[in-house]
Symmetry: C2
Subunit: 293 residues, 2 copies
């Protein structure tokens, strides 16, 4: 099988077909090289590039995928206006040392007659799963496909989407997919705002207010680790972010760090997670909560 990668200005091979991806991975494997996969929806920022750099630490070769996956968006959501910039993405990936970009078409991923769905319970329940019920099924479907198309040794995801990371760990284990799933701590702007492609939806004033989400979560996590009451900590977060100009608050919750089951006290590692709207941007963030010493 010939590798027909089209060179770009950045000389990063762009693979369009699953056969090209598999040929590239097979060529690397034939050289005895290990492979990391970094699945993304494009609109890349420094958070994504951190995933690529982590992939380079974990494996000899890194392939990033860029695919805005329609099955994880509801009809009213931002699939159509989700930011897309393949040339910019390719240049950024090349600068971070990525070895190939896999960018399949929607039609190649979901051809006519496609009839399979995956659903995940457990960590997918509640939080974003309650507000975006289609999302984790769509994530499970596309990540399963990407894993089985590339069969990498390891795949790297950001902790910014912490619930997603736990869901991916869950179905990867449940389906016996032979891929190791690695999480990377959230990459943040200097003022603490979690990097996100959806930050592009923020106006200047909204952008200035948005970091309060992370500040409120961090302060509450510290209070919880000093033994503060959970209800009080959650109420404090809600108050702070409402005052900072966030509109609808989808959720602010304390969960077990692994199972994501709701907890009311921090006896073992926990996670504070929140989702709230700033203007037209739905922002999510989360921080670890260490048990009180």
């Amino acid at each position: 099988m010939t590798l027909t990668a089209a060179p770009t200005s950045s000389d990063l091979p762009i693979l369009r077909a699953v056969e090209e991806l598999r040929a590239q991975v097979a060529a690397w494997r034939a050289e005895g090289l290990t492979v990391a996969l970094v699945p993304t929806m494009g609109a890349l920022h420094d958070g994504h590039l951190g995933l690529v750099r982590r992939g380079r630490e974990l494996a000899d070769r890194v392939v990033a995928s860029v695919f805005v996956n329609p099955t994880q968006f509801a009809p009213h959501e931002d699939f159509d206006r989700y930011p897309r910039d393949e040339a910019g993405d390719a240049a950024k990936l090349a600068s971070a040392g990525c070895h190939a970009l896999y960018a399949p078409t929607v039609r190649a991923m979901y051809p006519q007659g496609f009839a399979t769905a995956i659903s995940v319970g457990g960590p997918a329940e509640g939080l974003c799963g309650a507000f975006r019920p289609q999302m984790f099924g769509g994530v499970a479907l596309v990540v399963t496909k990407l894993f089985l198309q590339a069969l990498p040794d390891v795949a790297v995801f950001g902790e910014k989407d912490y619930q997603q990371l736990m869901v991916i760990r869950r179905f990867t284990r449940d389906l016996d997919i032979p891929v190791r799933v690695e999480g990377l701590p959230t990459v943040r702007e200097a003022d603490g705002l979690a990097m996100s492609s959806r930050n592009a939806y923020l106006g200047a004033d909204e952008r200035a207010r948005a970091p309060e989400l992370h500040r409120a979560l961090t302060a509450a996590a510290e209070a919880l680790s000093r033994g503060a009451d959970a209800d009080g900590a959650l109420t404090a977060i809600r108050g702070r972010i409402a005052e900072a100009g966030f509109g609808t608050i989808d959720y602010v919750e304390l969960r077990d760090a692994e199972s994501l089951e709701p907890v009311t006290a921090v006896a073992r590692p926990a996670r504070l997670l929140a989702a709230a709207w700033m203007g037209k941007a739905r922002l999510i963030d989360n921080v670890p909560v260490a048990p009180a010493a």
Copy 2:
């Protein structure tokens, strides 16, 4: 990793843990050998052994799995009384040239916290899918797991479960599982009865009447290929099997041979499929219908 296969009287290695299965397959691959998987629910008969023999034609090594999968049975169905005979199965597999038996426990396949499900539309709709709505999801789940545990080159299934074969082809393609799915024509008793583990539920008189299902399907397929009307052909089957002593007829249908979409005329290869009860046994069968010349 050490392979801790327990020898049996038949000297067929029995693998219990997924790590043992993967070590065995890896050892074969290290020798440059190809691998076929034959998934079964045990209670093996000559039909299953035909799958093993076909596996030997298609690959260098054959591993059969025996796992009565709870997720494809509804609570009222025969999971508990489904026939189980591992020693007998192992001896039969060895006699057919099988190289290893993989027999995991239910707890190993579905550990505590398991939270993932797969659903399939398209070919899973109607026919058995209408009467056993949980079945194909359960089949998709366990076959996906077995495929990803073993990662064989090819897997072999019988056409006796024709709809199941089409469902497996569908989700294997949809999820990009890198396993080739091969079907084997139904193995039959001398009088035409499709071999099935559930034939063990038939009393002597019922056993004598059961082959009429296949005779009726075959006669109707021939009539259809000569241009007979589909409604008439289906009605004739129903009449013949009711007269032979079948009780409830779950369905008798004419479908496209690939998509399994209902058809009313045989313009391209089609399939006649039926399910009906003889005493306590739900028997299924199907035959190809060639387009009229």
